[in-house]
């Protein structure tokens, strides 16, 4: 099976880093096989239709925009 692709869209701001950390923790606690990348290019954000960062994309699906959630809540979006 392909690893789950978790993408964090953000400029590297404090909130973006926090979302990446929580997503990483959620994926680990779920025991997923995953790959996490941070996308810092606004042109890429635009393709996903994102207008507020940080945003979370899982396997190409936009799951969360402009918010940081706890690892616990992110599990629902990533699982």
């Amino acid at each position: 099976m392909e690893p789950r692709l978790i993408e964090i869209l953000g400029s590297g701001c404090a909130k973006c880093e926090m979302l990446a950390k929580h997503a990483e923790q959620a994926a680990q606690e779920l025991g997923l096989d995953y790959a996490l990348t941070k996308l810092k290019d606004p042109a890429v954000w635009a393709r996903y239709g994102v207008m507020a960062t940080p945003a979370l994309v899982v396997d190409g699906q936009l799951k969360l925009e402009g918010r940081v959630l706890s690892a616990e809540k992110l599990k629902e979006l990533i699982a």
Partner: protein, 348 residues
């Protein structure tokens, strides 16, 4: 949310609890002023005419008052904003003509969740989907300038008139400055790749409407997030304000920031633009300046330029805007703020 493990409260219980909460909040809020006087002049035994006594009373009254107002308003605004996502605002503004579009954009700028760190993706989303450039700017100008923190602090410290004045003039500046930027036909100074970015091409998954539980959760999140972040600035600002309140002589500011000093308005804007602070840090200081004789127009101009125009935001926007457009943006808004400053000094 299907896996919500919290107890499902009955609506009646929620309403009752909310009412009790509001009543308790109101009682505490009303007793802050007597408490502050008792604390400073009774418990500590300071003289109500000494600088230290007035400064302490000022701080003990203002700090909890402003934080309490802030928590309530940020919560309310968090709920209101759950109805206005950037996506929805974009759809409302797409294809609008100028004038009416500028007005709508400035108003939506007040209620749409916005953080200057998201100025770039928002700008791309707007201009690539048919929101005119000038209308986009009306939004980008009003969103940071007319925000709930500024309004709460102004209301809490100066009353509703000054708060309404600030909101009204902030909106007018956003509307007119955006309209002028639109008239100047500056589209060629937007970075070329922006229009080729294919906004939303890879988008998938529609948003389900939020439930009321999720909306109140967003409100609580906003309180944690915003109040958790700005309270040190509020306290620091009020402490400086308290010091000025206690020690700076009456009318000291009148000579440098009073109505008579014509150059003080442009100077206040020149100093304010490169400064970056959130409303929470600047307003308590502004209050103390006003109290010591600074003119309202000058002080409002200073505040607007600090909150509405900031160096970090222009640096962020450089990713999508070329320097002439950035210069036009800063120039038009700064000019608008100067005009507002003069008008208030003349009228009031």
């Amino acid at each position: 949310m299907t896996t919500d493990r919290r107890i499902a409260w009955k609506p009646q219980a929620v309403i009752l609890l909310a009412l009790i909460g509001v009543a308790a909040w109101w009682l505490v809020y009303r007793s802050l002023e007597p408490f502050a006087s008792w604390f400073a002049f009774g418990l500590l035994g300071l003289s109500s005419r000494s600088p230290l006594g007035t400064a302490v009373a000022f701080f003990v009254f203002e700090a909890p008052k402003v934080l309490m107002l802030l928590a309530v308003v940020v919560f309310g605004v968090g709920i209101v904003r759950s109805f206005f996502t950037p996506e929805r605002t974009r759809r409302l503004l797409a294809g609008r003509r100028e004038s009416a579009g500028n007005v709508l954009a400035a108003l939506l700028g007040v209620v749409t969740p916005f953080c200057s760190c998201s100025a770039v993706p928002l700008f791309i989303g707007f201009v690539t989907t048919g929101v005119p450039l000038g209308v986009t700017f009306s939004f980008l100008i009003s969103a940071p300038m007319v925000n709930e923190i500024a309004l709460v602090l102004l209301f809490g410290l100066f009353g509703w008139k000054v708060a309404a004045l600030y909101a009204g003039t902030g909106l007018v500046i956003a509307i007119i400055a955006g309209w002028i930027i639109g008239r100047l036909k500056l589209e060629r100074w937007v970075e070329g790749w922006v229009y080729q970015s294919g906004f939303g091409e890879a988008a998938a998954g529609a948003d389900a409407p939020l439930t009321w539980n999720e909306r109140t959760e967003l409100g609580r999140e906003a309180v944690r997030d915003i109040v958790g972040k700005v309270w040190p600035y509020v306290l620091a600002g009020i402490a400086v304000g308290a010091a000025i309140h206690g020690w700076v002589p009456q009318d000291f500011m009148a000579s440098i920031m009073g109505k008579g000093a014509w150059w003080s308005v442009p100077l206040a804007v020149l100093i304010g633009v490169p400064m970056y602070s959130n409303a929470a840090g600047i307003i308590p200081i502004v209050q103390a300046l006003l109290e010591k004789g600074a003119a309202l127009g000058t002080v409002l101009a200073f505040m607007m330029s600090v909150i509405g125009l900031s160096l970090p935001e222009t640096i962020i926007l450089r990713k999508v805007l070329r320097p002439p457009l950035i210069a036009a943006f800063v120039g038009v808004v700064a000019a608008g703020i100067v005009v507002v400053g003069y008008v208030f000094n003349l009228v009031l």
